[in-house]
């Protein structure tokens, strides 16, 4: 999921969650439609091979999904289309319906199952949290993937090879990374640029976020040495982004454990960590997520 001020009492100052702009080429045949740092807009990938093209994430709602599909078709011509989603959250995958019947939709099993368990609940959650989002969400229809894999799958696009890997639970139960040609990583919300990591801890609807496993996944991503890293939100970067994200998570984990061991209550620990992290990462957006991360790490006690 993306970012929000969690305040429906005041007008939403963020632009509407509309995927806009032309795809930007990162490497031969590998494009991103940048999020422009707009809330509830993800970075969207389009990878064009000689035989087929792969779209990574759809945007929120069928209108964004249609826009993304049109952009993909312009790049791909009459090549076959695949769509995959980094994780089930609304702005990443709730536009998939626009692709149904045109593209082959590929999910990992954990993501498919998570969408089934939580999809409708997230629509209600977002309506409650975010002003003016209702009409867009009312257009969402959930669609099943055409192909569902376990663990890992590979798609040969012709000259480009995509490796889809199920790595959750971390940010979500069904997190999936997509590596293109072993060098470009689409990480979904496992990584954000200049934003605090999103911890979607919303009991009872969703308590699957797992900070400790998330750290382990980041270690694996660092070891895989991607040249180009596309985060879920924020500017395209490189391996330093993974290290930055890891440093923040490790900080919150360590502080939560230390404060808990010293007898601080969960609310005291959250307040301390929140204040300190805001001072330490002054250029990062969406500090409201610090408290969520602190709570999750405090509760898991590690």
């Amino acid at each position: 999921m993306s970012t929000t001020q969690f305040d429906t009492g005041t007008p939403n100052l963020s632009p509407p969650p509309v995927v806009q702009g032309d795809p930007v080429q990162l490497a031969d045949g590998i494009f991103v439609i940048p999020d422009r740092r707009v809330d509830l807009v993800p970075n969207i990938g389009i990878v064009v091979g000689s035989q087929a093209a792969l779209v990574i994430d759809s945007g929120l709602g069928p209108r964004n999904g249609t826009y993304v599909m049109e952009q993909a078709k312009q790049l791909a011509g009459d090549r076959q289309l695949y769509l995959t989603i980094t994780h089930f959250h609304p702005e990443h995958g709730f536009g998939a319906q626009a692709f149904k019947g045109t593209a082959t939709i590929v999910y990992n099993r954990a993501q498919r199952d998570e969408l089934g368990r939580k999809g409708a609940g997230y629509i209600e959650l977002f309506k409650g949290l975010i002003a003016d989002i209702g009409p867009t969400l009312d257009e969402v229809k959930f669609v099943d993937p055409d192909l569902t894999y376990d663990g890992q799958a590979e798609i040969d696009l012709g000259g480009h090879r995509a490796v889809l890997r199920s790595v959750g639970p971390a940010h979500s139960a069904g997190d999936q990374t997509i590596f293109i040609d072993d060098r470009v990583l689409f990480a979904g919300d496992l990584l954000e640029t200049r934003m605090f990591a999103i911890f979607p801890y919303f009991p009872p609807l969703d308590t699957d976020v797992n900070g400790s496993r998330w750290l382990g996944v980041l270690d694996e991503l660092i070891a895989s040495k991607p040249e180009i890293v596309v985060p879920g939100h924020g500017e395209v970067s490189d391996t330093t982004l993974i290290c930055d994200a890891r440093e923040y998570l490790e900080y919150v984990r360590g502080e939560a454990a230390r404060l808990r061991a010293s007898g601080a209550s969960v609310e005291e620990a959250i307040a301390t960590i929140d204040a300190a992290a805001r001072r330490r990462w002054t250029t990062w957006d969406h500090p409201e997520w610090i408290a969520f991360a602190a709570r999750v790490f405090y509760q898991t006690g590690s």
């Binding site: 019947g101 569902t148 894999y149 376990d150």
Partner: protein, 311 residues
């Protein structure tokens, strides 16, 4: 078939037969090397299971799949990369989405050309057909567990089970109802146990028995064997009976000090008498089965259960 008559050429022919809602089979017509070919037709896509040998058979199968599927997206999978089953895949390249399990990619690279040499020796008249086979890379590779394919109104689960008959055995279960078993299950003939060390010794006969138990637990209503007439769950039990019989004899003979070749010969004679209705064309496979179990057995008598870890 008598020993003197040359077997007919391995040509997939005839019309697809509807065996269940949306599920068709082009029968093997009891022609050696020709598999039972499956075509599953959904509202959005069509799945082909096995291609036949070579470009022409593959093209014939694809043509039927496109006709039945009204030219919707076609997926093609194979039960294992073996000449009869998967060596017509080139006809599908760029026209269908080729889906392999990772083990099938590895087997194609490792054994593909060796199979062509072996089959050319066994059936010299097929050498031109075999030499023209082109190996193509799949579009989609799944690496673990299952791949589920939603065809629209019909769902297929591709599940890797090897090593059993082969290192890359895969079954396809359609709508929890129709099982395409590949060469894990044959009907009306002796199972093919491809134990030809050193060229190919991937068959894991002990694990094969375990796999058959798992296939039985799926409770399919219809079982489509790799070769032979369509059947039901009883076909799985028959193969299991044969394999456990051979396993028991092999370990007994080995414990009694028989050589591998003597054990193979004894087992072949006994099995021919025991299953007289199973055709003679695969009698030779009995001895392979005997030697495979002989090699896999310990010096003691195998009393049941899997010895997979020793294979």
């Amino acid at each position: 078939m008598t020993a003197e008559s040359a077997p007919p050429p391995p040509v997939v022919r005839g019309e697809p037969l509807l065996v269940s809602d949306g599920v068709y089979v082009i029968p093997d017509n009891h022609v050696p090397i020709v598999p039972n070919v499956g075509i599953v037709v959904g509202t959005r896509a069509t799945l082909v299971i096995d291609t036949g040998l070579g470009q022409d058979n593959g093209a014939y199968v694809l043509e039927h799949a496109r006709r039945l599927g009204s030219r919707r997206t076609v997926y093609v999978a194979t039960t294992h990369v073996d000449p009869g089953h998967g060596f017509g895949m080139a006809a599908f390249k760029k026209k269908a989405r080729i889906v392999f399990h990772r083990s099938q990619v590895e087997e194609m690279h490792r054994l593909g050309h060796g199979y062509i040499d072996t089959f050319s020796r066994l059936r010299p008249e097929l050498t031109p057909m075999l030499r023209s086979v082109e190996f193509v890379e799949p579009d989609i590779v799944f690496c673990d567990g299952d791949l589920e394919v939603d065809l629209g109104g019909h769902g297929a689960v591709l599940r890797h089970y090897g090593p059993a008959h082969a290192a890359d055995d895969q079954v396809v279960l359609v709508d929890d109802h129709v099982l395409f078993a590949g060469d894990l299950v044959l009907t009306g003939q002796f199972p093919i146990v491809p134990y030809f060390p050193p060229f190919e010794a991937d068959v894991d006969a002990n694990h094969w028995i375990d796999v058959l138990d798992e296939l039985t637990s799926l409770q399919p209503a219809i079982v489509v064997p790799g070769h032979g007439d369509l059947s039901d769950i009883g076909a799985i039990a028959e193969v299991r009976d044969f394999l456990t019989y051979v396993r028991g004899m092999a370990s007994q003979l080995r414990a009694n000090g028989a050589s591998s070749d003597d054990a193979g010969a004894s087992i072949e004679a006994a099995a021919r008498a025991r299953w007289p209705s199973w055709g003679a064309s695969l009698h030779g496979s009995i001895g392979f089965a005997g030697r495979a179990f002989y090699a896999a057995s310990t010096t003691g008598v195998v009393t049941g259960g899997s010895k997979h870890e020793m294979a």
